[in-house]
Amino acid sequence: MPDDARTPVLEIENLCISYFTRAGEIPAVVDFNLTVHAGESVGLVGESGCGKSTVAMAIMRYLGSNGGIVGGSIKFKGRDITHLSDEELRKMRGSEVAMIYQEPMAALNPSLTIGAQLMEVPLIHEGVSEQEAYDRSRQMLSDVNLPDADRVMAAYPHQISGGQQQRVVIAMALLSKPALLLLDEPTTALDVTVEAGIIELIAEIAQKFGTAQVFISHNLGLVRETCDRICVMYSGEAVETGTIGDVFTKMRHPYTRGLFGAIPLPSANKNDRPLVAIPGQLPLPHQRPEGCNFGPRCEYFQDGVCGPQAIAMRDVPGEPRPHQSRCARFEQIDWDAPLGAGQVNEPIEPGEPVLVVDGMRKYYELYDRSVKAMLSGEGVKYVKANETLSFDARKAEIVAIVGESGCGKSTFAKVLMGLETATEGTITFNGDEIESTEVQQRPREQVASLQMVFQNPNDTLNPSMTVGGQISRVIRKFGVESDPDKVHDRVMRLLDMVKLPRDFYFRRPRQLSGGQKQRVGVARAFAGNPAMVIADEPVSALDVSVQAAVTELLMEIQREHGTTLLFISHDLSVVRYLADRIVVMYLGQIMEQGTTEEVFSPPYHPYTEALLSAVPIADTSVDKRKIVLEGNLPSVVNPPVGCPFHTRCPRKLGAICEAERPPVLVDSDTHRIACHIPLESLQAVEPVFFSVAENGSPAGPAAGSATTGSAAGE
């Protein structure tokens, strides 16, 4: 036994993987090393094209017909698996090495029941009887905290929610007690509060089953919560490895530091300590520079030292636990110097209200034309997408609307933009009531004055038109300019404003990267000098280093033009960074609204509390209380009567929460909470975030205490 415990479960040495296309050999992963022991969890972090998913596929030996391992070795439990036969591979997959995927809905077969898919694992690998396979599968479903396991066994994948699907995928992976678990961005497709539950489950697994884990993610916060060690990858290479504590606080590679500078840590602040984007762009796989891959983007690059020869990984001396970096100059760099130009911005004073929403309701009608409905008289059901929304946004202010799927934020955006009309209530924009005017009936200046930046950079531009053509169209449509030369001029100035080269005018969207496309989207939104811009998750689909650049760009433009920004997001870290005021929505209703400081500190609405607790934080000096919500988001078609949150609320009072709509508690001029719990009790609640001292012991208020179930206040 002791010998086995010391043999690493996974040992990758000098791994090189390439793809073979008609254009030649493209190296995807170069000189990669990784060791994982039983019970250990290693995070593999990087951006697109860094090769992290390729490594996972290589471990599974599933590289496709045009990919191959061209060098190095992968040892699983001491055995080299790079040369296994097909049959040996098949035995290994799913039983000793299992994988959990990014999109659970796509990973499950839509035509087979969950039970059938689960039972396959023990049936195939251990040859047990069907009854035993059924029992074990059912037991595993309970182990992953899925209620009503029998129903789930008989259900089809589309009949259960995304979070439940992912639990099923996890159950499927664990059924034969694998020694190694590969997790490829397992929570990217899930809502924040659901994600928290899955993360907790994953952390439990390592302890309960002793599995070794490789956790692939682009989110440093998640890695911090689930992993013991981390390996940072850039453009096909590992650039820094070490324990979480070492790499997060004593990083020794400029890229790692750049990553941390680009994410909105709690210490970042849009005025005093803005995000610093990593300059330059990720190199394409066939255009990697000689020497250090990160060289062209690194401010410490020194010719001769950092190139043209290849740089190897070196140990960082003086550390008790192994810590390696691929930087040739890490001894010479001053790691405490501040990043970026130390830019400080003046905070802006907000002006008069630009947008006033008062009691806005948007109900959709669902017609049930079945005979049963006709007989019972319930032919029409209402989807209460937005229920009595009231808030306002002032000039030059950034108001964030926060919520998960089904909270109604997209519906609200549609009503604002005129794609839908409100059922009741008013929305006043710059003095005009717009809740019942569709966009085509609105005057041109008003349309130009209220524009939107969309979420998906790949879909935000028409693929068949040139960049310049699209922006020109917008300018002419809004009547900003009509003279072709003036239009052209304005397009150029807009391209300057979003820091894109002028010759992008002629390019088509497919020739642009994600970040560049999003910049064009920003330019398009600002083409008509809008007074207010709605940004719907504008950076969630971008790489981390690009997110910072686009976020800062948006900030800059907003500052300069005094535009009001309505920022819709589910990412509370970004929201904390840039919002002045926050509106928290759940199932169509506003649960809490206030300034950023007010929302992030007590008193909290219970939902806000859970939401804050679910945010992954990459700052090791900050810890948080764990609050995990049970259950799923209820359906919007039949929202619960009374408080919409009562089905999952850990602080539920009792019957009153189910029967009556909660009153609006007023904490301050700007801070309102909709809850039945008396304000004093909410004010006495512990903060969710607190700082920890260097050695790991909490320095702030009480030690972290998990709060689940129905504790009624503290």
Binding site: M60, Y62, R90, K91, M92, R93, G94, S95, A98, M99, Y101, E103, A106, A107, L108, N109, P110, S111, L112, E120, V121, I124, H125, Y156, H158, Q159, V169, M172
Partner: protein
């Protein structure tokens, strides 16, 4: 008018064969077996029915002299007289179904859930039979239902070519002679068949696709 329906048994065997070929070729996209089957199926969908009738007659009647070239059933029902017309009739549909199935199968093999099955250690045979097939056959199924209508219309050509007195020639004669009543009657029959198969297709599709069944 009742003597018109081509033998059903040969239809089902032709159908299954077409599906099988489609699956085989879609399984390993780009492989030799895929390419050969694809060539064959593209060839059969390029030939109009009367032409395939002509070619078949040319080969089997004139050259090999195996089968009779005319199917007027003078001496009562004769299987040998049915072979060529049926073959000509179904050839086009055969190729079409094979191609559709191939496309559907190839698409299914690229999905994430097949990847999950493979990475679970499911043996290849089971991946195809249990995981892929169910999803791959949904699309061709609806096509097959439509093929029945195609057959009904192809029958016109084939009967004309082989001098078979059935629905097709009845309609054709009526059309050429402007016999309104017969035309109307034929139309009604055609509509009935169309509606019937459409309903069958809807039912069958609901059955095959769990997503529709339970939503």
């Amino acid at each position: 008018m009742s003597h018109r329906v081509p033998p059903r048994r040969s239809l089902t065997t032709a159908l299954s064969l077409a599906l099988l070929l489609g699956v085989l070729s879609g399984m390993k996209e780009g492989s030799v077996q895929d390419r050969t089957i694809s060539v064959f199926s593209i060839a059969t969908t390029s030939v109009p029915e009367f032409a395939s009738g002509v070619f078949l007659v040319g080969i089997f009647v004139l050259w090999l002299k195996w089968l009779p070239g005319v199917s007027n059933m003078v001496g009562g029902f004769d299987i040998a007289q049915m072979v060529l017309p049926v073959a000509a009739l179904v050839m086009y549909g055969f190729g079409y179904i094979t191609r559709m199935t191939r496309a559907s199968m190839a698409e299914v093999m690229q999905t994430h859930y097949i990847r999950t099955a493979v990475l679970k250690g499911v043996p290849q045979r089971q991946v195809i039979l249990k995981h892929a097939l169910r999803n791959a056959l949904i699309a061709p199924f609806t096509v097959i239902m439509l093929q029945i209508n195609w057959l009904l219309s192809g029958v016109i050509v084939i009967e004309y070519l082989f001098a078979y007195k059935g629905f097709g020639s009845l309609l054709l004669e009526a059309a050429l002679n402007k016999d309104i009543f017969v035309i109307e009657a034929c139309t009604m029959v055609a509509v009935l068949v169309a509606v019937g198969t459409q309903t069958l297709a809807d039912i069958g599709y609901m059955y095959l696709n769990p997503r529709i069944r339970f939503s």
